[in-house]
């Protein structure tokens, strides 16, 4: 059986065949942004989750106008088909795809396996940063159906609707307040949102090549924890990047219709006065 929306996923070979396709823009989005400079897929441009996609002042991602500027600079038109890939099993590639989807760019895909698989197959990486002719991009109205804010989470608890905590088990149980060495991404309280089940993001990808698991494996993984197709689901992690990957899996690989990513995630919830917590 194939994924619910296979058009959202391409393999490395497909990308290799479309390097010069003017209708395709390949975007690298990494946790470690130096990787792009050290070598990237020929013709690929970089969108860094932090320096490109974050709002310069507020804790938020780019505004609609800022997003339009990013796309125009990268030579993206409203008809461009965008393929995202990156390090760490495509975490940040999924985060970037989520932001693009939020601003209405729906012709988006993930390169299955990301950088790791591309490198394993010894495919070409270049240092040349290609410039594209500037375009005049216009974003659509934000698609709020894929983004959860804290008030949605309070409502979710009240309505006893499903939530997925995709962090590591130690973060879920509250044993770890923040990832070691990342103190500024910490929270003053540990634990998880009441009612959320623990399904670490990494369980959705194969360790060997970072590619997504089969649809059968994924279905068993999520349905086994009562995260089902008809549910209204919220996924979260620490800052909303790992949960973008889970959001992508639920929405496009399994075809769940109502899935939101809570990008405030634990760094918001674990610092929020009066918010309920379970351990």
């Amino acid at each position: 059986m194939s994924y619910a929306h296979p058009e959202y996923l391409v393999d490395t070979e497909w990308v290799a065949q479309h390097l010069e396709d003017p209708n395709v823009r390949i975007i690298e989005s990494d946790e470690d942004s130096l990787l792009y400079l050290m070598g990237h897929i020929p013709g690929a441009v970089q969108v860094d989750w932090f320096s490109t996609l974050q709002h310069p002042l507020r804790r938020d991602f780019s505004t609609r106008e800022q997003f339009e500027e990013i796309c125009s600079t990268l030579g993206i038109t409203n008809d461009t088909s965008i393929v995202f890939y990156g390090d760490k099993s495509n975490w940040f590639a999924c985060y970037a795809l989520w932001v693009f989807q939020y601003y209405g760019h729906t012709n988006v895909k993930i390169m299955n396996g990301g950088r790791i698989k591309w490198e394993q197959e010894k495919r070409a990486l270049v240092k040349e940063v290609r410039a594209y002719t500037r375009t005049s991009y216009s974003a659509k109205e934000a698609d709020k159906s894929i983004r959860a804010f804290r008030n949605d989470v309070f409502k979710q608890i009240e309505d006893k609707k499903p939530m997925v905590d995709v962090r590591s088990l130690k973060e879920y149980t509250g044993e770890l307040l923040h990832m070691p060495n990342y103190p500024q991404e910490g929270a003053t309280r540990g634990g998880h949102i009441p009612g959320a089940v623990s399904i670490p993001w990494s369980m959705a990808v194969n360790e060997a090549d970072s590619a997504f698991k089969s649809v059968e494996e994924l279905r068993a993984l999520y349905e086994g924890k009562d995260i089902k197709a008809d549910g209204e689901i919220i996924a979260y992690c620490r800052i909303g990047e790992r949960s973008s990957l889970t959001w992508f899996v639920l929405k496009y690989l399994l075809g769940y219709e109502k899935v939101k990513n809570y990008d405030g995630s634990w760094t918001e919830w674990g610092n929020l006065v009066d918010a309920p917590i379970e351990k």
Binding site: D48, I116, L176, P183
Partner: protein
């Protein structure tokens, strides 16, 4: 207080660089980080991997007869930022005495203004690696 001369020199160099130069230099450091010497491999294999999401950083401190320390790292090539930060610390601190390493202020890198080039989150790696080096330095004093 003043930093060891080698580290001070690196800090001063970075302070005068453009964003692009900082990134290029950091990549240079990342690429220069030596592989873990064979003699540490056995011990390394026994160490617990750090939980997912983190860049696994393994380091060893080796004490010479004169009491100075040399640090050896094992950090995957997929994490050039952390490799670069570790290489800066190794270049700046190898040959120092444990007491000197313990005395390095945790925010010594502030004048380098690395936040121009890499995100604040990744900069925490600097603190993490330095803290780890200090722990190892303390162990050698035992």
């Amino acid at each position: 207080m003043s930093l060891p001369a080698n580290l001070q020199e690196i800090v001063d160099d970075f302070a005068g660089m453009t964003r692009e130069e900082k990134m290029e230099t950091l990549i240079g450091y990342a690429e220069s980080l030596a592989d873990l010497p064979e003699r540490f491999r056995e011990e390394r294999a026994k160490m617990e991997p750090i939980p997912e999401c983190m860049t696994p950083v393994f380091l060893f401190a080796e004490k010479a007869d004169d009491g100075s320390l040399t640090f050896h790292f094992d950090i995957p090539p997929q994490s050039p930022t952390v490799r670069g930060l570790a290489a800066i610390l190794a270049t700046g601190l190898n040959g120092c005495k444990p007491e000197e390493i313990i005395a390095i202020p945790a925010d010594f890198y502030a004048p380098m203004k690395l936040e121009d080039a890499i995100s604040g989150q990744r900069l925490n790696g600097f603190r993490g690696v330095l803290a780890h080096m200090k722990q190892e330095a303390v162990k050698t004093m035992g």
